[in-house]
């Protein structure tokens, strides 16, 4: 993230946390909503679901911002809420009565565009990693979190984050060497 934009983002976050109001919350929502919608869509949610879950995250942010002790930890805190919301959503989904789901092509033919993640090169790469590695690579390269932020979101040591990224790249290099080069 460019330094200028990072500083602007910091200002918006600081303004909301310093003086929560409808106005400062609206600015924060403008900043954070694209991150959150992208987060949920990159994990397989369709647009409507991504919007619903983003609202849930923002509701938690609105209600619980006073609980955030260090303002520098806003992004990890935000992504941690998102992760919990997503886990709860998947848990609820697994309890629902299964319904017939049209396949991706049929949905597209019915005018519902397929999630771009599903047909991306990134998704193909991620399929060759295990869930832990995938989660870290998504946070690093799609959500653009720094190593220390990923460590805070997942509550693991920063060395583990670096190690998993290193090994994931090794795995990808070995698996896709001929295609990527």
């Amino acid at each position: 993230m460019p330094a200028e934009s990072a500083s602007r983002n910091h200002e918006v976050i600081e303004r909301f946390l310093g003086a929560p109001s409808e106005d400062s919350f609206s600015s924060l929502f403008h900043l954070v909503a694209p991150w959150m919608v992208g987060y949920f869509r990159a994990r397989g949610c369709d647009v409507e679901m991504a919007k619903d879950l983003t609202q849930e995250v923002m509701l938690s942010v609105y209600k619980a911002s006073h609980a955030l002790r260090s303002r520098d930890r806003f992004r990890p805190w935000l992504y941690r809420i998102a992760q919990n919301v997503l886990l709860r959503h998947f848990r609820d989904e697994s309890r629902r009565v299964p319904t017939v789901r049209l396949n991706a092509e049929a949905e597209e033919a019915c005018g519902r565009p397929q999630n771009p993640y599903l047909r991306s090169q990134f998704s193909e790469w991620m399929a060759s990693l295990n869930p832990d590695e995938r989660q870290i690579m998504l946070l690093r390269y799609v959500d653009e979190l720094e190593h220390h932020e990923i460590a805070a979101v997942l509550e693991i040591p920063i060395g583990t984050v670096q190690w998993k990224i290193f090994h994931s790249k090794k795995k990808l290099a070995a698996r896709f060497a001929t295609e990527a080069t």
Partner: protein, 173 residues
Amino acid sequence: MHHDISEQEWLDYVSGVLAPARAAFIRSHAATCVKCARTLGSFAEWHDLMMQEGSRLRSALELPSDEMESFIADSVEAICAGERPGSRSWSWSVAEGLFFMRVLMEPICGAGTARASIKLAVERSTTRSEGGLCRRNWQLFVANLSEVVASICGLAAGSLVKHAGASLAIAGA
């Protein structure tokens, strides 16, 4: 990737946290060792590839700006108004409302009286033009029902029916 360089050192080197002296050693080693140079190159290449594809994916996942704007406006309004966003406010259909009233009244005045009182109150509260009980005449129905119940079972029962019925939000036109 051995050559007196541990995997941890490679990791630290790639992460940019290796001590300068060791980093210089790895750089000079990679300049002469084809295998290590290739591996190091592939890390840098994969980093760039992931950055590029991640950026492309972020753009593809973005919502159109007008959709995003209206989503944000609606959500901010709902959250700041204290509503839970995305959830519908709780409301009852007329049939659910009637069922609730009947269940409430049966232990007080018996099933038969409850049914007859509701029937009478519905008849008093609706006109043909309205086509039956609906949200518009629900409060009138509650007032009539409360009156009927009060006359049969006493003021306390009438008051209970009145307050319970008035607290229901009936959906629909």
